[in-house]
Symmetry: C2
């Protein structure tokens, strides 16, 4: 739509429909309409523009970049995806690069550089000024998924003896470089981190009070080695805007801001979901951008592990194939029974993994959780078992599942009449065995599903990881043993009478 007038852009955002499209941007570029492009940057959030700009050609991209007022360039660059960033870096002059790099936050540049090919990374690092280069190198050295790797080195740290007026003046003069000034970090004369001051408290305070008078003492902090999952939990629990990252000497070395914490929480939730779905975590990579081959290699390992563990089920079934041959109807109920065990155990695993991730409970609450889940499982098993009995009777009564068949043609031996001794004995007995097995399997699966994740968590491993496949296997085996055990006990003695 090259004729569209960009001044008609709406002010209200509809997040599901970005208000600027690649087509529109490309049209403005081909018309060399720099004014219209600048107008877009005033009215549209940078992330929306960046999303539209990602698929432009490098030439179009650099044109837009050169139109943009300097106060927008840093954020716009940051919101682009990695490919677009690399194209821009290639196309930019050294002077442009110097400007863009030093306008950005060191942690953002470090993230970008970390994924770039060496020659481009080199070009970016050369453009960075001395302090920035040092910061980037420091950040790149922290282990992935630690507080150190997600923190920023640009913050406002003030001495606790400053008074309110001095603090506000300093915030005015030095705050622009900081990632946030809503939380001001306070140190004492020994450079020890002693507390924080919220900007609003600073504004509400009397002018002659010192930071020491008004700072919060009930602050939390983490170290550079703290796992990012724990960082997310701290933000959630303490409603933080920013978190202090300290070194071993209790000195501030970085801060983590809420927007980065939100990204971490999202990433951690995705990882837990993926692990529970038996996929190797994609680690924040976008689905559409990951190649099919890469995706397949994230799926294959778990399927192979599950296949190997499934051998146990085959082994058990193999022991009972004479029973199946004698009573083929047992095979008909196998999927329902095994799905029932896996599904009910899966419910409990889900609750456990999520509860552990949100720190609602931990391995130390094992007894309490097991007791609650045992009662839940007992009740669930009873209700589902009772329903299943009626359902299985119904299935046999209608001939959906039959006791005997003749060369693939099912024979409804009850011919729609359930008031016969045969029906009560044969259909009743098989339904009873299957329903009782289902109820018992639910009980066993749910109890195992408590023990596995909590056990894994007690060993300080990730409970999302091994719980599901292990559970499926154990629940399957339990279901088969219960099923054929009950069949042996209750059906086999009767079968010769039929």
């Amino acid at each position: 739509m090259p004729t569209e007038n960009p001044s008609n852009l709406e002010v209200k955002a509809q997040p599901s429909k970005p208000r600027i499209t690649t087509k529109k941007l490309a049209a403005l570029v081909s018309k060399k309409d720099g004014k219209a492009i600048q107008k877009i940057f005033i009215k549209v959030p940078d992330i929306d523009i960046a999303e539209a700009a990602n698929t432009l050609t490098p030439t179009e991209l650099i044109f837009i970049f050169r139109c943009v007022e300097s106060k927008y360039t840093a954020e716009f660059f940051d919101e682009l995806d990695q490919d677009a960033k690399e194209n821009l870096v290639k196309a930019m002059t050294d002077k442009e690069l110097v400007q863009i790099v030093n306008q950005q936050a060191a942690d953002d540049v470090a993230d970008t550089v970390g994924e770039m090919p060496a020659n481009l990374a080199q070009k970016v690092l050369q453009a960075a000024d001395k302090t920035m280069r040092k910061d980037i190198n420091t950040l790149l050295n922290y282990k992935e998924n630690t507080a150190g790797s997600i923190m920023t080195t640009e913050y406002l740290e003030l001495l606790d003896t400053l008074n309110v007026d001095e603090a506000i003046d300093t915030a005015r003069s030095r705050g622009r470089e900081a990632e946030t000034i809503y939380t001001i970090f306070v140190r004492d004369i020994q450079r020890q981190f002693v507390g924080t001051v919220d900007l609003d408290d600073l504004i509400f305070a009397k002018k002659d009070q010192t930071l020491h008078d008004i700072m919060n003492l009930d602050v939390v902090s983490c170290s550079t080695a703290t796992d990012q999952e724990e960082v997310g939990q701290m933000f959630r629990r303490y409603d933080l805007n920013a978190l202090a990252v300290l070194n071993d000497d209790n000195r501030l070395v970085g801060i983590i801001t809420i927007d980065d914490a939100v990204d971490v929480m999202t990433q951690e939730a995705t990882e837990d979901i993926e692990k529970m779905g038996a996929i190797t975590p994609t680690r924040g990579e976008s689905y559409l951008k990951t190649s099919a081959t890469k995706m397949a290699f994230k799926c294959v390992p778990w399927l192979v592990i599950l296949l190997v563990m499934g051998t146990l089920s085959s082994l058990v079934l193999s022991q009972f194939d004479d029973k199946i041959a004698a009573i083929p109807i047992l095979a008909s109920f196998l999927p329902v029974l095994m799905d029932g065990g896996g599904n009910s155990g899966g419910q409990t695993t889900t609750l456990m993994v999520r509860g552990l991730a949100l720190k609602e409970f931990g391995p130390k609450n094992f007894g309490k959780v097991l007791w609650k889940e045992f009662r839940t499982a007992l009740l669930t098993g009873l209700i589902v078992g009772a329903f299943a009995f009626i359902w299985f009777m119904m299935e046999q009564y209608t001939g959906i599942v039959t006791w005997k068949s003749d060369a693939g043609n099912p024979i409804n031996i009850f011919a729609g009449n359930c008031w016969t001794w045969d029906f009560f004995q044969i259909a009743g007995l098989t339904s009873l065995v299957t329903a009782a097995s289902l109820g018992l399997t639910i009980l066993v699966a749910k109890v195992i599903a408590v023990c596995l994740p909590l056990g894994v968590a007690a060993m300080k491993k990730d409970p999302a990881l091994m719980s599901e496949p292990l559970l499926t296997t154990v629940a399957d085996v339990a279901a088969l043993l219960i099923y054929f055990g009950l069949a042996e006990l209750w059906i086999m003695p009767v079968i010769n009478l039929v």
Copy 2:
């Protein structure tokens, strides 16, 4: 530990180990040591104290409450759990209640009142002053899970013609009542919402600039009816500190702050996880506080639905029980095959549901997603199928799974020698049929697993809800049809030769 000296409390928080215990608090209360309790409130985050205080008796609780300096009471009260809050409300004098209620944010009081028995809710509402009471009633009327139900009515809204100095003065005088002053909302003379000003921009601005000069125009907003999931997505996408909630006339009626948005994102992730785990969502209720009966009733419905849908598998199996009777080894591989289909489909469902929740793609990308997943599935099916063939051969070679058995005693007809024609023909054929079925099932399951969630999403329903049980059922049926179809084609013609 009644002898412990509370002045020894550490300043650094260890989020996994709350620094104050119920025991310690109870000991201080029994010693009537108000000073020590006050000291705790200075050094320990309120949430940690509230967690320790939740299980105290009402008398102990009210003692602590009466010790606390007034600036801590509101937050402390807010962090307590519902039972403790109700106990406190019962125990408080009317005067105390008036103070505590009017210190709080209207949205927090509305949340508390919404869950209280009528007589206590009445007592709280009577204590609220007129404006507060009106706000609470308004908030209570918004539908659950909408922006209206999570917003707060306490914000700073200024006229766009104010200059920077006037704005800072107003923030100083009126900002204390607002939930945040980090984002200041700007209206024009017609009370229309026109933009926002970040507090740091206000501080950095020149004193004679007006809010109109410095406000952000690229702002997003939502309406009171916007779903809270979408609110979470907007915070994530636009890195917001606070979001404007507008009515139909484009006037500001409330704001949502980042801490409430974080709670929403966590709750939405939990709900998705629970739905995928086939549990009726717990809606933010804590696991340990939900009764076993309630928990069972969240698990039973899905198990029953899955049981009923499983009928289809039973029906299919019932048609093939003559094949199982003739070739019992087919039954041995059933669990592996069916688990393989469910698991590989589950992987894709997981990716789809999470990708849809994070708006990485939508139903409009159906073709692109399907094509990617088709290639992934093809590759996954080939690799897993190839591995499975070798594995199944191995299982038969070692006698883990056997072709024939005699009254429950497996007979390894190959006696450890695989270089016979029999082994190649029988074991090779069954392994081939099972492995090929597994590979095909993976392909089919993954393709179905793309169609179901995207189809459900296209119908504007929640993709997490029905995808998993439907998928399991469809994948099971597909697996059985493929398996017995191939067995009919490839094994049956040979079987008479054995």
